[in-house]
Assembly symmetry: C2
Homo-oligomer: 232 residues x 2
Amino acid sequence: MDDIETLKRRAGEAAAGLVRSGTVVGLGTGSTARYVIAAIGRALADGTLTDVSGVPTSAACERMAREAGIPLVELGAAGVDIAIDGADEIDPALEAIKGLGGAMTREKIVAAAARRFVLVADATKRVERLGERAPVPVEVLRFGWRRTAAALASLGCTPRLRGGEAAPALTDNGHPVLDCAVPAGFDAAAFAAAVDTLPGVVGTGLFLGLARTAFIAGDGDVVRLERGGAAS
Amino acid sequence: MDDIETLKRRAGEAAAGLVRSGTVVGLGTGSTARYVIAAIGRALADGTLTDVSGVPTSAACERMAREAGIPLVELGAAGVDIAIDGADEIDPALEAIKGLGGAMTREKIVAAAARRFVLVADATKRVERLGERAPVPVEVLRFGWRRTAAALASLGCTPRLRGGEAAPALTDNGHPVLDCAVPAGFDAAAFAAAVDTLPGVVGTGLFLGLARTAFIAGDGDVVRLERGGAAS
């Protein structure tokens, strides 16, 4: 059986194969997306790819992309051609939960700005229903966070301040995160709509309607899934 | 004819009359809300009110409340009993635009956390339709703001970075603001719903479904309006 790093690497390298010369690429954050960055860097170094620039979604990803030799640009009004990122959970319709790494809001800005958004993951991230195992991370303003947590709880979830009150974990935007455990029968679309309207919420880790393609690495193979389509 | 400061003072003092002893009050920010703070401070000083604490919605309002002698508390999970704040535009249904002062996101957190939210304004702030004169302020993450501006523009408005690119104005939360001029026939509810789902948006100055009461000072009198009710 292949180890999990091998699976992550295979999924990342398969997705990197979608990147074309002369494009701007959104670079995701995390343990699988790093293999995408490494693969693009190698393709630029050996000349397989030319004139590719990257938009990093976190400080960590920015460092990694610099080391890989990928020229970086700021996200412009025109968006990016393609964005490739990992996920914590992916359901059969390619809806996803992201944010265990805390970069979900920037990642979602880039994903929504991409003409094609691609998920990469090992097979352990596939779920039948979102929220089965992962909490939904919600980035919130520090101001009034207890009230925002109460408002989230009233929607039926169980929020927990990431890192605890003594030393809350902060995103690159400087905000705390409430990890919201959701009940069985969770309706991701309804929850996302309700949470997005709550004052004090900066963003959620629910990536709905965004991914068009996913590369999922299982034992021995990488499956490519298309939104609304069949596995290939 | 009364000058505008007199009108603001009268509206603020009328609203402050709703505050009861033993309650927690959300304190708004701005040139009319300051008269609410001053009136509550005087009532605490002369014993008309006792055991009132305030939740400030900005650094400026916090200083003012300290000077007025109002004990301050953080916004807790239980919210506040009443919040009183100014507005840039108020329509006949008591829907409002706020945010020319840049404090709208914290103000909205407090307004939504209030059992009663009260608006105070001089009569020049009344409009038939929201967006007639004031732009809709949208607080956004600095990351990808050009792309967020493009996404806002695709909803039909004309966004403009407050303060300009060389020295953007920042909110107390540290974020820039896009002032979005809206076209005639603007549908505030549809716009708010669309904007709230955009990644990169922290909050908007549209206060819809929040105000229950408004005190509007015109020449010689203060009109009290109730949501869904008549003037008194």
